[in-house]
């Protein structure tokens, strides 16, 4: 496991992600994404039933 996962590199990545997260905040929440997905699916299904 230690050969596959370099802990030092993982820590650096986490720091970089935190920096990115602060600099570019997530614009949609998971709930909003789920709602968008449901909405797109609903819009798509009538088309599919016509074919």
């Amino acid at each position: 496991m230690s050969e596959r996962y370099d802990v030092k590199q993982m820590r650096q990545e986490i720091k970089a992600d935190e920096k990115l997260y602060r600099a570019k905040p997530v614009l949609l929440t998971q709930q909003e994404i789920d709602a968008l997905r449901a909405q797109l699916r609903q819009a798509k299904s009538p088309k599919e039933s016509q074919t």
Binding site: D6, M10, R11, E13, D17, L20, V26, Q30, I33, L36
Partner: protein, 132 residues
């Protein structure tokens, strides 16, 4: 418990995310059929392994996740692809879902939420569940 383990490929260039998701998948009883750290390898790995599901980042080196999504679905229209990412602007999310991603998971979610979403996706794969 499943009649067979759902086979999942993981595509992310960040080791700590692969480590986290790999452990989530193993704990859920899924098989991690392959791991890749760039977009070109993701397409190649998909062709080689033909997994039940591929969980993929957007910001992949060599080929971005949304391009890989389109490539995989162009070649394998029944492929199931889940995007797992930090990028959640409406255009990117909408583009990926319209291209055919089955779900879109934020990396910033708590692990339990990531597990819940993955369980939902795996349940929709149609792999028979058997009593433990």
């Amino acid at each position: 418990m499943f009649a067979r383990k759902p086979r999942i490929v993981l595509a992310d260039d960040e080791i700590h995310i692969r480590y986290l998701i790999r452990n989530v998948m193993l704990a859920e009883g899924y098989e991690v059929a392959g791991e890749v750290n760039n977009g070109e390898d993701a397409v190649a790995m998909y062709r080689e392994v033909r997994p039940d599901l591929i969980v993929m980042d957007i910001n992949l080196p060599l080929k971005t996740g949304d391009v890989v999504l389109a490539d995989i679905l162009g070649e394998f229209p029944d492929a199931k692809v889940v995007m797992l990412t930090m990028v959640a602007d409406i255009d990117t999310v909408k583009r990926c879902l319209e291209l055919g991603a089955v779900d879109y998971i934020l990396k910033s979610n708590p692990v339990e939420e990531i597990k819940r979403i993955l369980r939902g996706v795996v349940a929709s794969l149609g792999i028979e569940e058997v009593p433990a």
